[in-house]
């Protein structure tokens, strides 16, 4: 624009102001246009075009010349070093690129830090304590006592149906039914087994949504969903924030509002994903909640995926009752049953994450048929299936396990929550799962994600323990943290509390 004023002086008196503005502007725009065009002609490092025969500067063409054919007998190094392409790096797909570009979230950084410097009471008392991994170590001794050593290879080594052996499905169905105190009788033929809950969630995401569609997910939610639902499938997650003022309960009004907003933007919602018991709060959904969600799904003609991987990890008092969405679906008409799908996993309830045994339970034959096919890409190893069968199917084991596991979770949970309370930190009431959801808003330096991550860093670097910050769970209110306590012994709880106290003191002195 600085050009215009002097030029105005030049053309004064000859239709002056107009010409004086138009000419320099036109000149300016022509200049931009010219520069842009020239920039486009610069060589673009596009691997697909480099070997095309269209550029006259390419030495040699894309079809083999006689010399190249006879070149087969030349030594390797001379054939390979095509001068044009030495140094050109081959590219990976757009999907892989987006993964490579993404920085690691605190969730993953924390896990890695623990792996590098894990706390051990005797061996490494200054190491980092893992409170960011929802894993149950409390009752694995019960499980290991059950195992028989040695298994003959025959009957185990051959190809099996990729969606799991029927005998194992029967055992898993019994386990899931027991979690509902046998109110629901799960049908093994509606189960598809796969190598972990991540795979189960990914398969469902593939079967229920096309690329570009979306699922509604109430937050805070499990940090793993982003990977499982979105990554390879191109399906979006639209968060529906829940608030502490509501005890983080799901509101159908909020779901409805988010659904309409998405529709206006032209995004097609294919379903809702809920967790029950929820992760990270550990709260249980009531029958009324579940009916309301199913009604909403019916009204919008979408699916519901209920992530029930903590169904056997209920530790609340007697009134705390786990109600599976299967119970609700059982009372509905066929059309509505078909929209209900459950993800289950033996990792959390039975502390078997290494064995990779997850499951999809669905009332929808088409989903089951498609999922079964997809399990060829992520099946459960057959010796592991046999090991699981021989372990879980013993009834004495099973009863004892569920009862003892519940008691142990209860004990640690109450110790942990008491400890936090004595430090002035309140938790939401949790009745299931392996974690508690702590309100640390009073400790963060600024009410923002930045403040939250600062505190998380302090926990990790000063306190030497890894927890999951609420932002990883997509919590809209900063300052909440998920503490997984099922990795701890009772002694460890004291150690953790001391460390938290240490960090609290540094926070209070800074604030």
């Amino acid at each position: 624009m600085r050009v215009i004023v002097p030029l105005q002086g030049v053309v004064q008196g000859r239709g002056g102001l107009v010409l004086g503005s138009v000419i320099p502007c036109a000149f300016f725009y022509f200049l931009q246009f010219y520069l842009k065009r020239n920039r486009r002609d610069e060589p673009v490092p596009d691997p697909a075009n480099q070997s095309s025969a269209s550029s006259p500067n390419n030495s040699g063409s894309s079809s083999p010349t006689q010399s190249e054919l006879t070149g087969l007998s030349r030594s390797l190094s001379r054939v390979i070093l095509s001068p044009r392409n030495s140094g050109a790096h081959v590219s990976v797909s757009g999907r892989a690129n987006s993964i490579l570009k993404g920085g690691d979230s605190p969730y993953h950084v924390g896990l890695k830090r623990v792996a590098d410097d894990p706390y051990d009471e005797l061996g490494n008392p200054d190491g980092i304590i893992e409170l960011g991994l929802a894993q149950n170590k409390l009752s694995s001794d019960l499980v290991s006592d059950q195992n028989s050593i040695g298994l003959s290879l025959s009957g185990v080594a051959s190809y099996e149906p990729s969606d799991g052996l029927m005998e194992l499905k029967m055992v898993v169905a019994k386990l899931m039914s027991a979690a509902t105190k046998n109110v629901v009788c799960f049908d093994p033929s509606q189960l598809v087994l796969t190598s972990g809950a991540a795979s189960a969630m990914e398969i469902l995401s593939f079967c229920l949504a096309d690329s570009g569609n979306a699922f509604l997910v109430p937050t805070p939610c499990s940090p793993g969903f982003d990977l499982d639902v979105k990554w390879r499938n191109g399906v979006e997650i639209i968060h529906v924030p829940c608030r502490s003022s509501d005890n983080f309960n799901i509101s159908v009004t909020a779901l409805d509002r988010t659904f309409s907003q998405a529709k206006k933007r032209g995004v097609r919602i294919r379903g809702i994903i809920i967790s029950n018991p929820s992760n990270p709060m550990g709260s249980l959904l009531s029958r009324e909640n579940l009916y309301a969600l199913l009604d909403f799904a019916r009204e919008k003609n979408i699916h519901i995926i209920s992530n029930e991987i903590f169904a056997c990890s209920i530790h609340g008092d007697e009134e705390a009752e786990f109600v599976s969405i299967a119970e609700i679906a059982d009372t509905e008409e066929n059309l509505d049953k078909e929209r209900v799908h459950i993800v289950y996993d033996l990792s959390k309830d039975l502390s078997f994450p290494g064995l990779r045994a997850g499951a999809i339970y669905s009332f929808n034959e088409n989903v089951l048929a498609a999922s079964r096919k997809l399990t060829t890409l992520s099946p459960v190893s057959s010796p592991s299936q046999h090991l699981l069968m021989s372990t879980i199917s013993k009834p004495e084991f099973f009863q004892t396990y569920v009862k003892t596991n519940r008691q142990r979770l209860q004990r640690i949970y109450s110790e942990f929550v008491k400890g936090l309370k004595s430090l002035g930190v309140e938790c939401t009431r949790s009745n299931g799962g392996l974690f508690c959801w702590a309100d640390m808003r009073g400790l963060i330096s600024s009410y923002s994600e930045k403040g939250e991550i600062e505190l998380w860093n302090k926990f990790l670097n000063i306190g030497k323990f890894n927890v999951t910050p609420g932002s990883c769970c997509h919590c809209i209110e900063p300052g909440w943290f998920r503490f997984c306590f099922s990795n701890l012994s009772e002694k460890d709880v004291l150690v953790v509390m001391n460390r938290i106290r240490k960090v609290c003191i540094t926070c209070k002195s800074q604030n």
Binding site: S62, S195, D295, L355, R356, S382, S384
Partner: protein
């Protein structure tokens, strides 16, 4: 508290995604129909002698006893839990790191080196574990290509590729046509022609995927062809994937050249990092139920991404632990590889001799669990339909399940893949007898 609405007037049936309803899984082909026929009426020497003999499944049972003996003898380390020296149940039950057990990766690397006679080295940190080669192939495809891109694959190829490479990835397969005039080896003309076909259709080619030794041909890929392929991939700036799942099943070790050997002597990273190898224990060790596959890549980005993506398809920690000590026992693996090769070679000779006596020729093979048989002369109509008719006759009358070349996308009709390693010698003799009788009957008319 949420209130239950009484809105019940929506009668729509809820829909599934395009992936779920598509038939890109390719499972309607004769390849799978044959399996079904076998499942419904499986041959058994004593109980069902007129049942269908399974020769459409590339499973290796010839060396099973070696494994059983090993695992029983070395029970404390080789078995699953609770022994003194080995890590206990607890650690293994909890281990779910997608890097995989280091001891297991080291064992896999050492096993892969042994198979190649030490002619190539494998770095355990470049090994990514997946639940089977099926998953490995799909994972690589996700990583190397975008939807609507293509991989060039020489025909005939393993029917499962239609599913593994295409189904969820949305990637296309463009065939490199090979024929019997040169024993189905890949020629530069065929390669260029395939590439051009893709370009003409405006499809971006991201790589070439070969199986070496080849399934269904049962033959190794010649060294000069490998060198040419690598050069082609450098010139076009695309990837080269070599599925070497049958590398331990080559009858004479000297006849196999792995792409790893070619890459071993190359320093130029921009050349190396386009090469990726798929391997699995399913064929060489006859352990398909265990679901152990690997991706070996010379490309750091691919290794990193594949590792993360393998979260969906991890190998059970129990399986890793169980096999780690066995695979790193060099005395055992050396013996196993040697004996397995010998038994496969012998089996191959029996079947080829037997077929020859019946007047049937096979492609000269030197590897794998199958032979590539030529029944073109029996076809009434030299068309795909003619071939499928013959296949149907063989299935229904001879009760033999073999795989027709059409399901392998072979451009020449009349070829069939016949598996020989998943049955006893007696059963093989019976299968050959049925073929003899069939040929005799045919000659009489």
């Amino acid at each position: 508290m949420m209130e239950r609405s009484s809105n019940n007037n929506n009668n729509n049936v809820v829909e599934l995604s395009r992936v779920a309803v598509s038939d890109t899984h390719g499972e309607d082909s004769p390849y799978f129909a044959g399996w079904k026929a076998y499942d419904e009426n499986p041959y058994d020497e004593s109980h069902n002698p007129s049942g269908v003999i399974q020769m459409g499944l590339a499973e290796n049972q010839v060396s099973f006893d070696l494994l059983e003996t090993y695992l029983e003898k070395k029970n404390p380390e080789g078995s699953m839990w609770g022994s003194k020296g080995a890590p206990g149940f607890r650690e293994n039950a909890l281990f779910q790191d997608y890097h995989g057990l280091k001891t297991f990766r080291q064992a896999m690397a050492s096993f892969m080196e042994q198979i190649r006679g030490g002619k190539a080295r494998f770095d355990p940190d470049r090994i990514v574990l997946t639940a089977g080669a099926t998953a490995a192939n799909e994972l690589l495809t996700f990583i190397l290509a975008d939807p609507n891109d293509a991989l060039l694959v020489p025909t005939p190829y393993y029917p499962g590729f239609d599913r593994d490479l295409r189904w969820r990835t949305g990637v296309k397969i463009v065939p490199i046509h090979c024929d019997s005039s040169n024993h189905f080896q890949i020629t530069p003309e065929a390669l260029e022609s395939a590439y051009q076909t893709a370009r003409d259709a405006n499809i971006r080619v991201r790589g070439v995927l070969i199986t070496n030794p080849s399934n269904p041909l049962g033959a190794t890929v010649q060294k000069k062809v490998l060198e040419y392929l690598l050069d082609f991939c450098v010139r076009k700036n695309i990837h080269l994937v070599s599925d070497e799942i049958y590398s331990g099943s080559v009858f004479h070790a000297s006849e196999f050249t792995s792409v790893a050997e070619i890459v071993e002597n190359i320093d130029d990273v921009s050349v190396k990092e386009r090469v990726h190898i798929v391997y699995s224990l399913s064929k060489d060790l006859g352990l398909p139920g265990f679901r152990v596959g690997t991706i070996y890549s010379y490309n750091d980005n691919v290794v990193r991404t594949a590792r993360r993506m393998s979260s969906f398809t991890l190998v059970s920690s129990q399986t890793q632990h169980m096999l780690a000590s066995m695979l790193s026992d060099e005395e055992f693996t050396d013996k196993y590889i040697r004996i397995n090769r010998e038994r496969l070679r012998r089996r191959y000779e029996i079947i080829v001799e037997g077929l020859k006596k019946a007047g049937i020729e096979c492609l000269k093979g030197n590897a794998g669990l199958f032979c590539w048989m030529n029944l073109g002369f029996l076809l009434e109509k030299k068309t795909k339909d003619g071939e499928l008719q013959l296949w149907d006759v063989i299935l229904k009358e001879l009760k033999l399940n073999i795989s027709p070349g059409t399901s392998c996308h072979c451009s020449e009709v009349g070829w069939f893949r016949v598996c020989f390693a998943n049955m006893s010698e007696n059963t093989l003799e019976i299968a050959l007898k049925r073929i003899h009788e069939f040929m005799d009957r045919r000659r009489r008319f």
